[in-house]
Symmetry: C2
């Protein structure tokens, strides 16, 4: 087990009616900032379903009741755009807003994080994502989660798409971790099944990225990962493939809680995860604007298949007889064949079958994506050099993974 | 799943050599208090092994290097005493110490928490434990953990023994949660096996208390609990019954990390645990001064046996056909007999067998305790009325559990 430092101070307010706490919690943060209860905040969301469903009105009511004013910035889209982030930064500066409340899924929260980091930064915010400067400080922010998926509500990461460069890039900094997050599973009853499924693939990917590690023994972290993955799979089936499942509070609650745990880094402690799949997917969704979760359903099984093949020929310093893919197949999918590599390969099939059963694409073909962009994506994937901590992938390896996903 | 609010802000610094961070982390806290790096703190420990092993000297060196001074209060004993707490409170007040660093196991940390709560309180600190007044504020405190057991290093609870009244009582308050905790598994290599085993029983009990709940479905919490319990059992065997196991870093690290997770309340979210066993044990260790972990090894299997018998006759509002004890037997001990109640009963046997295998007593007889005190303990257990959230125990039920433990 490697040394680690762990601290996650996000206050999680979970359950029925939790959004009613938005005003009180925001006012409490404003008091600590010395902004007084009469302060105004940036209220950031898509302007779409959350507004039409009445959620935004309920949150405004809660803010009003707590004496908190707001300026609204709507228009967040999936794969959140740099242009809107720049608009938000200008707005916060102009209006002197000291706090951001994001309402939505990972896109709204990641967009809010980018604005929060950009406001006190002297240069253009993209420089922070392009790693030209570190994030030294940020406005405090919080989230009301409507899509269990990204785990962004208690994580330090944000992913933004620079539309001009067709470049999707992540950033991580402690100061952009939300102060509080409000999670009401009831808000997810009306999510379209495809969006629920994309969220499931996203949270599962967050656990799998951490699960595939070279660290030989971190048993407790393994157990926590495996239990979380089993919970996600079971409850995704309950919500998406069972009559009445969409309104099953407990199943929705399991998914929502799993989505947060999957990415608050508890499941990564004591070891280093891989994350190449995420970066392979970022090229996909930056190029073709498909949902990140759908992209992960296409990429991850291909990445795993590539690794199982690579394991059989040894290489890249992974321990000989590496049985992690077999352990994944055994613990998450209940498989146990004669040989570990057979078990591992069967695990890939089960993973793909699961994604298909909840309505997700598992190939370029399924998603109707062209394959002529693959060499370019593989090149851009490796723009900073070979990527991946479990197994390093260069441009050729990345291309091989994309081909396995065709 | 019940609504919950979760926030655990303790910074965990885990790994080899972690105690070298004590000075830097303490100085950082003093800066936030405006006390300046030249401030002095209370350094609180037993004065026993931690001092003889050189750990206390290393911590003093780390403090000195960070420019932090200290006043020392030693003499902490297992089942920490109210008298020493009162001494600590007087010392902090007299010397104007704004921060407490505890070095040791749960006793040192719980004693430090009591001092922290007592310093700003106008009355006598025992009033806080006797629930005559709430804990409104406390000095900040932190811990260097030498015994993985109590989980006190990131919990809100403290248990103190009032020697005059032979009364051991717990207290819980957010403001006594440690600011940071330092956990170096290497420090536990030299723990006597009996103390390691007592710690194992303590952490296992923290999970089991949360596992036995009436809440019908909290699947993710169940998975996390079951994975943590399996990890504890496997690594306790590795450390305590395998040649060279005492110096197995990874196994020690799993136990230490499990001990923290077992009691930071992540494993209790979305439901209400039981906690009658802890209170039954507190009467035992208050009366006979045995180690809390040993007491839990005696009490918990008896409590579980009592509940399985009670389940078979229904009662106290538990769902008919309650199979939680069978689930415990199946998931933690890998058992699956013909009928759930058979599986459940076999689970009790395995739990007792496990405790015995690591050198713990599982009965009054094993521990050489007299049984004539049982009626008095049962009476004191129910001094605030029937206790236990999974199944309410009155004095008669408490006596029945004690008898099953004879």
């Amino acid at each position: 087990m490697q040394n680690f430092v762990y601290q996650n101070s996000t206050k999680l307010i979970f359950g029925r009616g939790a959004e009613g706490e938005a005003g009180r919690e925001t006012a409490a943060v404003l008091r600590t900032l010395g902004a007084g209860p009469q302060g105004r905040i940036l209220l950031h969301h898509s302007g779409g379903f959350a507004a039409r469903s009445g959620l935004i009105d309920r949150i405004k009511g809660s803010l009003r009741e707590a004496g908190v004013g707001w300026v609204e910035l709507t228009g967040v889209k999936p794969n959140p755009r740099l242009s809107l982030v720049r608009e938000g930064i200008a707005l916060c500066r102009k209006e002197g807003l000291p706090f951001i409340l994001a309402v939505g899924g990972g896109s709204a929260i990641d967009s809010a994080k980018a604005i929060a980091a950009g406001v006190p930064y002297g240069g253009d915010v993209w420089e922070l994502y392009a790693k030209k400067a570190p994030v030294a400080e940020a406005l405090p922010l919080a989230a009301v989660v409507t899509i269990p998926a990204s785990g962004s509500e208690s994580s330090t990461s944000s992913v933004i798409t620079n539309e001009e460069l067709a470049w999707k890039q992540g950033l991580s900094a402690e100061c952009i971790r939300p102060v509080f997050a409000i999670l009401n599973p009831e808000l997810t009853y009306t999510l379209p099944p495809y969006q629920t499924a994309c969220g499931v693939a996203d949270m599962l990917a967050h656990v799998m990225e951490r699960y595939f590690t070279r660290e030989p023994q971190v048993e407790l972290t393994d157990e926590l990962c495996e239990g979380t993955m089993r919970t996600i799979v079971r409850n995704a089936r309950q919500v998406l493939t069972t009559p009445g499942g969409a309104h099953d509070y407990d199943a929705r609650a399991e998914l929502m809680w799993a989505g947060t745990l999957a990415h608050n880094n508890l499941l990564g402690l004591g070891r280093v995860g891989d994350w190449a799949s995420h970066h392979l997917e970022h090229e996909l969704s930056a190029g073709y604007d498909i949902a990140h979760g759908a992209g992960m359903a296409i990429i991850f099984p291909a990445w795993l298949e590539y690794n199982i093949r690579a394991d059989s020929s040894g290489g890249d310093g992974l321990p000989s007889g590496n049985t992690r893919p077999a352990q994944f197949a055994e613990k998450v999918w209940g498989l146990s064949l004669r040989r570990p590599d057979e078990t591992a390969r069967e695990g890939v099939l089960r993973l793909r079958e699961f994604y298909r059963s909840i309505g997700l694409p598992v190939s370029f073909t399924d998603a109707g994506l062209p394959t002529d962009g693959i060499p370019g994506m593989a090149r851009r994937f490796s723009r900073f050099g070979p990527d991946g901590k479990y197994r390093k992938l260069d441009a050729a390896a990345a291309e091989a993974v994309y081909r396995l996903a065709c």
